[in-house]
Every structure is written in C-alpha cells, then in structure tokens.
C-alpha cells in the first residue's frame, strides 16, 4: 500500500449561515486505505466529501491531501475523482467518451483515448461495449462505467458518494466485493460515504461514524461494532437492546449497573469510557440480540434476565424473538438457525443469558433515532 496518498482533515468546521454542518472534524486517512464515513442522512458526511473534492471550502480548518494544504484549489485542480450518488454519466456521450473525458480535457488524442478506454473497459468486464450510450447499459454496468471514468484520470484519492444506494440488494452486495477488489488492485485511497452500515463494515479498513456534524468514532469495523465509543454509535451500528440505569460498582474492566427495570446486570466498560465512568453515574448498557441465548440454568445471576415471549419472526438465517422482561421492558434476541425446532409460543417464560464481555456499558447519551 505505497501508492496511496493520505487525506487529513484538521479541525474542519463547515457552516452554512447559522447551520453548522460539520464541527471540528479531525480525521487522518492513511494512503491506500478504504475509509468510510457512516451516518444517518443529514449528518454532514456528504459535506465532508465535498470539502475534500473541492466543491466547497471549509469555514475553518484545513484539508490536506498528501500532506499538502488544498485551500484555494478547485475541484478541477485536486488529485481526487468523485463518483456521484446518481453517477452523473454524460447521457449524450458514448461509454468510451464518458470514461476518457478526463483525458479529453487534457488534450490527449483520440486514438490514445480509445486505447485507454478499451483497457479500462476490460478491467470492468465491459469489453466491446464502448460504443454504447449509458442509457443502453444496466444499473450495475453504469456503476462500473462510473468507476472506470473516475479511475481514468489516475486520481490519488477516489471519493464515492453512496454510489450503490440505487441498486437492488443482490447487485449491491456483488458491487461491494467488486469495489473492494478494485481498490486493492489500484491501491489508491478510497473515501466512501454511506448510511448503510453493512457497506461500511464489509468494505472499509476504517470507519468514521458521524452524528449531526460530529465525528463520534473512528476505528476499524470490529471495534465500531464490538466496542462503540458513544451510545449513538452503539445504537446506530447494528441493533442493540438498551438498558438505562446507574453504575453500582466497578470491578476492573466490568461494571454492575442497577438498571431501571431489569435489576442488576454486569457488562464490560467500553474502552473509551474507562476511567471516566464512576459509581453512581448515569449509564447505558448495550446488549446485542445475537449475544443473548437461552440459559439452561434458570437461577438468578447478574448476566441473566427472565422474560416472556411476545412473538417470533423467522428471517431465514436467524430467528428474532421479541420478549417482554420485567416491567414490560422490551428485549430482542436473535438465534442462529442451525436447523433446530423453534416453537416457543407466546407467553413462554424464558431465562436469557449473555457473556458479560459481549455487553457494553457507556455513559448515558444520545441514541440514534430509528
């Protein structure tokens, strides 16, 4: 991974009038990395992308590409290429002209452009389709043409603004793998914007989770999922059962929380909360549905809950069991489908059990709204 060029955001603030779209973003993206900005719509992730590509200047702070301050450089002067959400292929140009538009701009002759187009068409498995118009291609093919067009200029950084959101599920999953492979092959830095956590987790080396203009956490996918830094990250990425309460005691890496409705429960303290979380603090415990299992031992313990089955959903690879704990606390449990008979009927009393290392406790904070 030597080819890639790093991108750094230093204290970047972006304001539109009184509205702060991005506040004090500090992000270091290493060269050759597949980096994602993940967040709900309106969290400022597209604004950051536009600041990197040069379509807008940050109100404060600096954007550096390859260590060089990009202030004053327009989008046509930066070593970046942008793939738009709607791809923005030129409808009246043939596919090969679309792909090599950046070379046309540089004044490269037609024969050389055509040759380069054919190479790129081969790379995206569209050999011989250069003379078609974009409207004659399928969604996935257009997608690949947009990628080839962006790569044609040999940018140092490729910026992707939710380019897969318009595709259907199967194609989207296929394109994820393909994008990842292309990135590994060309070795340049990819910055990917998405609200789809699946895309972010499967493809990225590192993910920045954003909430209302603030970068909440920057880490690799595993850390984001297993060791979230804020309640927002914990509730936005994947699903979580949330238990509110107060810290009762702390014992090394673990804490006992006196939850409002479910009694005392034990959980691991999130890495970012270590040292700052004290006895008596308002806290939240996050327990993933797939971390729950049905206990064979029904005696009370600090990692057990009793709950009544409300209903069950079969999703294919998993069963989702919706339960009601003490004082009508809703709990969701996911059981992997390994061919077992699942016939818990309504009102069955179950005892749930979890590994305390798989439950996370964080200081109370804002959750992602559904």
């Amino acid at each position: 991974m030597s080819k890639g060029v790093g991108v750094d955001l230093e204290d970047v603030c972006i304001r539109f009038g009184d509205f702060v779209a991005v506040r004090e973003a500090n992000v270091n993206i290493k060269g050759g990395e597949f980096f994602s900005f993940l967040g709900p719509s309106g969290c400022g992730k597209t604004t950051i992308l536009r600041a990197v590509s040069g379509f807008l200047e940050p109100s404060e702070g600096r954007v550096l590409i390859g260590g060089k301050d990009m202030a004053g450089f327009g989008p046509n002067k930066r070593p970046t290429a942008l793939i738009f959400q709607n791809l923005a292929l030129f409808p009246l140009m043939k596919v090969w002209e679309n792909i090599t538009f950046s070379l046309e701009v540089q004044g490269v002759g037609k024969a050389a452009r055509r040759k380069r187009a054919d190479e790129l068409l081969e790379m995206i498995a569209l050999t011989g389709q250069g003379d078609k118009l974009p409207s004659e291609l399928s969604g996935g093919q257009k997608q690949r043409v947009a990628i080839a067009r962006a790569l044609c200029a040999e940018p140092d950084v490729l910026l992707l603004d939710e380019p897969l959101s318009a595709l259907d599920l199967k194609l989207r999953q296929h394109m994820r793998t393909e994008l990842r492979e292309i990135q590994k092959r060309v070795g340049i830095t990819f910055i990917y914007i998405t609200h789809d956590q699946g895309e972010a987790l499967t493809m990225s080396d590192n993910v920045a989770v954003m909430r209302a203009g603030i970068v909440d956490q920057i880490a690799d996918g595993h850390t984001i999922y297993n060791d979230p830094a804020t309640p927002f990250v914990a509730s936005f990425v994947g699903e979580n059962n949330v238990f509110r309460g107060k810290i009762k005691s702390i014992n090394g890496d673990h804490a006992i929380i006196d939850t409002n409705r479910s009694g005392d429960l034990v959980a691991k303290i999130a890495t970012t909360a270590k040292g700052s979380l004290g006895v008596g603090d308002e806290a939240m415990m996050f327990l993933r549905p797939e971390a729950c299992k049905i206990a064979s031992d029904t005696s009370a313990a600090q990692n057990r809950l009793t709950a009544k089955v409300l209903h069950e959903e079969f999703e294919g690879q998993i069963y989702n069991v919706f339960l009601e704990g003490a004082q009508s606390k809703e709990i969701k449990m996911s059981l992997v489908n390994v061919g077992q008979e699942r016939q818990s009927s309504k009102s069955d009393e179950l005892t749930l059990e979890y590994n305390p290392d798989q439950a996370i406790v964080l200081p109370a904070g804002e959750l992602a709204s559904e």
């Binding site: 290429a81 959400q85 701009v105």
Partner: protein
Amino acid sequence: MNISNAFRNYFEKNGVGLGTFLLVVVLFWVVVLIILPQLSMLDFSFRHHLPPPEMGGPKDVYTLEHYEYLVLGAPGADTSYNVVDLGVFGRTLMAAVFVTVLNLVICYPIAYYLAQSKGSGGTTRILVLLLIIPYWINEILRAFAFRIIFGDSGLINETLIVMGLIDNPIDFIRANVALYAGLGYAYILLMIFPIYNVIESLDRNQIEAARDMGASWARIHWRVVIPYAKPGISSGCTMVFMLTAGALAAPQILGGPSSLWFTQIIYQWFNQGGNWPRGAAFAIVLLVTCVIIVLSMMRLFKVKMGDIGK
C-alpha cells in the same frame, strides 16, 4: 396499436364530452385557421391578377406568372433577373439569420443563469419579471420606443455627446442598428424560455462531474450543457428565425430609408398594389424557403423533429 383502438383509448381516458371538445377545437384550429388559409393562398398564387368580374371566367386559369416575376422580373426589363426583389429576399434571410445568431449568443447565458440559479429566490424572480413585463407593452409601441432611443436626439446619442465621445449624432436608423436591436429584442423571450426549460432539467451533478475531471467552463458548456440544450436551442432558433423573417412592424418602423424587408414587399402587393396573387406567390416563396432553411439546419445539427417539442 391501430387507429380505432387509439380512438377508443382516447375517449375512455378523457370522456366523451371533453374528448369531443378537445378534438373539435384542435381540428378547427389546425384545419380552418391554418391549413385552409394556406391552401387558399397557394391557390391564389397560381392565378392571374384579374379584375373581380373576370374571376371564374375563361381567363381565370392557373399560371406561374407571379413566380416568374419574382425570379425574372417584369417582361422586357433591363436585367435578366429581378435583382431588386431577389436582393431584398436574400438580405431579409441573411438579416434573419444574423438576428437569430445574435439572439442565441445573448440569450444562452441568460437562460443558463436562470436555469441554474433556480430556487435561489429573489434575484432570479426579479430578473424574470424584468424580462416579461416589457412584453405587456404593444409591439408597435415598443418599436417606436426603440426609434426614440436610437434617434438623432435619442437617449444613446445624447449620452454619447454629453460624455464627449462623439460630436455629431450617429444615424443608427440608417445603419440599421435600430432595426437589428428592435428585432433582436422582439423575440428574446422565445429564445430564452425553450433553452431555460431544457437546461433546468440538466442534472447539476453532470456539470460538477465534468469540473471534477478538470474541464474548463468552456469545455463543460461545449461538451455537456450545449449538447443537452440542443433541442431547446433549435426550438428557440426556429421560432426567432421564422418570426424575424416574417416580421413587418419592426422593419416598417425601425428600418432605414434604403432598406426594405421582404415582408414589406409582400405587404405592398396585397395593399397598395392590390395584386393579391402576386403577394400570395411571394409569401409562399418566403414560407417555403424559411421551412427549407430550418429543416436543413436541423439536419446539419442532428436535431430530430420530436426533440423540438420537449
């Protein structure tokens, strides 16, 4: 789908009452107000100029006399061609082309600006109002206003003299500056709005994508915006060209003493000359020539008829 099916669908969609109304109104418009008058003009143009009692009599036969007159002039004239009328004809068409191109050059940036700044409120709306309100004034009055502006003691000459740039007033009327300005202004909206309409639907991301790939503004327009706006441009150019070539009031009022517009000659044959068949023949020649020019331009720039309606 065959025709009876199409009719059934049409009536099912619109209902019998509304369907019949639309059909009758459109047919009346097309047949009675457009096709029949043109056919009668065509018929007129092939007849001799006869006093009313002889119409329908033995002398009332078809002839090419008036078309011959336009090309060859009066029998026994000094020149072998009708230099005067053909000259005016040619000049009129050249001037119409010139006015059309001038209009396009002026209107394209305005239309682009309006289309791209849509939704950004105040200034755009004021600009559109400023464009439209002058058209509440009668065309003849507007032409006279131009005469006043460009006159010897008009606004422009006075300003230039006060600023000390010239000593004697420039004769804008004789130089046809006033005429071109008036004609150019007369149909400016017909150029702006079709182009505006098309550019408004252009995805802004395409412009940004081109910019991202390093394209200059000139190249973005040349390769992305103009090809996309072509149907609007050709629609606007067609209307402006047709109307300019067929304009009568503006040349009458703003034209210099030495310049004659071909429509004025047609007008003279109909009114002062009282020779309707000759006027009809001249009008048909103008119409057919203009249509041919428009169609060949569309061919040259690869615009399809269906695109114009977009």
